[in-house]
Symmetry: C2
DNA sequence: CGCAGATAGTTGCAAATGCAACCATGTCGA
DNA sequence: TCGACATGGTTGCATTTGCAACTATCTGCG
């Protein structure tokens, strides 16, 4: 499949590369959907999905949970608010933070996209066969563990 | 971990999301390396790695093989050439295309980074245990198949 | 031949990103 | 109570990206 590599490095076996390619390929497909339907960015979709899943939370909660840079979250939140998808409310106990929660429009978008995502995922899993479940489990473990060799 | 979702969509089981998180986490770690050592971009590293693996090839070959946008490749190639890492040569048969090949500096960088990547990958696999091999195989299948449910 | 596409690669421009700097608030210990 | 430092969030700026043109070359067909 590949020719000899002096140091023995084989790009086709390098996990970060494989993960990136697979992630890019699968994400690109679904990106079409939320982009066409709602003109949303990948980050916006991720923020929406997190809020849809976990209910009200702060921006830094989202950062922690989704491992997305805080400026990315900040701007996605601003965009989603602009569209009326979410509301911010000063957090009672800590006035630096604000509690984010989906407004009806945002919830509707989340539910519609959630349905489409489910379809997408089912199709993907159907193609992968029984190993899809293993894949998902291993990925979850990697993410939970920090996914860095040195971490 | 998650509460009930109206449509049954579960973000924690959504493969594109999991793949992205895992890819981001693993790539970020290695990005430190080629960034610190050579000030390279992710795309530049990928182009370098492809050239290092497959020898001389054209930019569009790289696009096809690595599924990277052609403008990204174009700019990465320009940057790598600027640093003296690669040479372009007009393709004999097709004068639109140019054959890219690593120059000694580029090859040296590839070999050094290849070694480091190998270490990185080994550490990652050690953490994952026996399922690392399965993971790699499934990812390769996904990539080969286009990785899109509809494809 | 000569013209209608395809394909290789670059460029312009708007949008998205990363990083550091920046406020505002909160926490903790002397 | 005060000052040092941590944390939530935003903003500025340079870099990177994506997409749509655009040039140049190639291919195929009437």
């Amino acid at each position: 499949m590949t020719d000899g590599h002096p140091g023995g490095f084989d790009l086709d076996a390098f996990l970060p590369y494989l993960l990136n390619q697979a992630a890019e390929a699968t994400s690109r497909g679904f990106a079409q959907v939320y982009r066409a339907e709602y003109g949303m960015t990948r980050t916006q979709w991720r923020v929406l999905a997190n809020l849809g899943r976990s209910g009200a939370m702060t921006a830094s909660d989202i950062c922690r949970v989704s491992h997305v840079e805080k400026t990315k979250v900040s701007r996605a939140v601003a965009a989603l608010e602009e569209r009326g998808f979410l509301a911010r409310e000063r957090h009672g106990a800590d006035r630096r933070a604000e509690t984010l929660s989906l407004r009806p429009e945002g919830r509707a978008a989340f539910e519609r996209l959630g349905m489409l995502a489910l379809d997408y995922d089912r199709a993907l899993r159907a193609r992968l066969g029984p190993e899809a479940a293993t894949l998902a489990r291993v990925l979850r473990e990697m993410i939970a563990a920090g996914a860095e060799p040195g971490g």
